[in-house]
Symmetry: C2
Subunit: 340 residues, 2 copies
């Protein structure tokens, strides 16, 4: 059996095509993703799904869908977003389709009755993968935009919050990521030589610039749009970061900017560690399993900062597949749903 | 004599046409402004200047220019920005033109030799107005995007920082304003009922939404673009603010959002008060003169918070003219320069 799992986010749509043998064991995984800003290009969703599938379109038996794109500010409410996205998906495929909900897989009829059930449920899919690695752990998935921190006990997720709104209050969702986060939301002041400087509150630079300058990511990892529309290059990342201080690369040195980038990185790790600590102390779990693009930097560093045991999903997936872990988990959930 | 003063900012271009009698006293002031985002529409600058002038074009004797738009991220450096903007201005007019620099008015020839001198110097123009009201004071100009906090002694500005970069370190520039500031840069957590919730780091809502919901500004004052491209309405401001918590107006009540808006407002006042205190304590000045769109809210509240004496430029200008105080000051400086 061959199953496609899609994770439709606000900025990226991720795909995992997973092939299973008759016993349900995984034979092969192919992953891919496409930058699709749902706040202004939702009309291209259907074509993007087909483009990502390519020739696999003729070979897959079913499609599983998880989503977070209903949060995009082109929608008046989450319910409106879920209904629009699920309708676009249903128009695209004429094979079985089901959706990841907060309480398991749902068919389209259930979705129409209770769209809220699907809102921002993609972490449920990732939990399946983490539970497969360790029955008691906290998984931390640091993507381009957000970080999920989900406790798992006895092989089952036991998150205290269900919706994004609730999870922002329980430490289980931190709205900070490896690429798209506006650095002005991370720091009010930064050190420059012997002084503290206030920062500009514009969208001048993002965490992708920070992590590129620090060598935490490669040019190929920088898959989001640049805030100034400029090219993706090390030089431009330095320039964008200098603007955070109303500076430019005549006024600041590369060394100045590297130190500022390092400071912002530490603030981001501390922000994630604070939430991770909240979950770890509350649930009495000290093993952390990291995934996502930021797993070896933000996720692992936050766990180390707290002295917690740390493993990554690279034990069971390739690095590329870890970046789209929710899509892989969605395919696994869909396979079980098809057989049930 | 009739003089036009322009203040060319990153987001707004402001005009004051000031008519003087033979003794140099002000007979009449007309002000106007236009939303012109210089990061993507700088080619429209010349036409915008002419449109704002209208029929006054045939009557004015000279033009004074101050600017902050060179900071826009369409420019690689401030020098490049100043040279581009000043060249566009010179092409527009065939009457005398001069520019507000950090050390007085400069003709075009001087600008080309030393463009850095002009960068973000518009507060020099506002200082002229404040010194006219009180020889020893701190003026605080809270515009759409930023807040200048400038000490004046014996009728002369004595700011410790000159460039924006320096002023972000001396408390003399706080990059927070009445309309355009991303609220995610102001708060990491907000209170909701009996809980603290983390916030989404997107550009979901701006301070214009906060101040509209609180009745601090009117619909007419909301002259900046909305972050989601939606209409300017009270209802949409509530919706945008609810997204800060990954919520919507089904999940949150108006009362919830009003309390969150009030909390953000207090954080913004505290941020400005911290910088105002730094300047006030350092310079031993306890009289504050507020101007700009936020003068009666952010500026005055910050001064009250510190127990400082507070006056506003409404004593000498209409409320509308206060919003473009740097343009009025620029016209006054140009009149003196013409006569010298």
């Amino acid at each position: 059996m061959k199953i496609a799992g899609f994770d439709i986010g606000g900025a990226n749509t991720d795909l995992a095509v997973v092939e299973f043998d008759d016993n349900g064991s995984i034979i092969n995984i192919r992953t891919d993703f496409s930058y699709l800003p749902m706040w202004n290009k939702k009309d291209e969703l259907s074509q993007t799904l087909l483009d990502l599938l390519g020739k696999d379109m003729d070979e897959i038996d079913a499609v599983g869908i998880s989503m977070t794109a209903e949060l995009a500010d082109s929608y008046q409410s989450k319910a409106e977003g879920v209904l629009d996205i699920s309708a676009r998906v249903m128009e695209t495929f004429n094979i079985p389709v089901a959706f990841v909900g907060l309480n398991g897989m749902k068919d389209y009829e259930s979705v129409q009755k209770n769209p809220q059930e699907l809102a921002a449920a993609n972490w449920i899919a990732t939990a399946t993968l983490a539970a497969h690695m360790a029955p008691d752990c906290i998984f931390i998935d640091t993507g381009s935009t957000t970080t999920d921190i989900i406790p798992i006990k006895n092989g089952t997720e036991c998150a205290k919050g269900r919706t994004d709104l609730e999870r922002l209050g329980t430490g289980e969702l931190v709205y900070t990521g490896t690429l798209r986060t506006n650095v002005a939301t991370l720091v009010d002041k930064v050190p420059l030589k012997d002084k503290w400087l206030r920062t500009a509150s514009e969208l001048f630079a993002v965490t992708a610039d920070v992590h590129l300058v620090l060598g935490n990511i490669t040019l190929e990892d920088y898959t989001s749009e640049t805030p100034d529309g400029g090219d993706i290059s090390l030089e431009n990342s330095f320039l964008r970061l200098s603007r955070l201080l109303c500076g430019d690369m005549n006024l600041l040195s590369k060394d100045d900017v590297e130190k500022i980038a390092w400071f912002i990185y530490q603030k981001q790790v501390a922000q994630v560690a604070e939430a991770l600590k909240e979950v770890s102390v509350r649930e009495h779990i000290e093993l952390v399993i990291a995934t996502g693009l930021g797993m070896n930097i933000i996720g692992s560093e936050a766990a180390k900062f707290l002295g917690l045991e740390i493993r990554t999903m690279e034990e069971i997936l390739s690095k590329e597949d870890c970046v789209v872990a929710p899509a892989v988990g969605t395919a696994l959930l869909m396979e079980k749903f098809q057989k049930s």
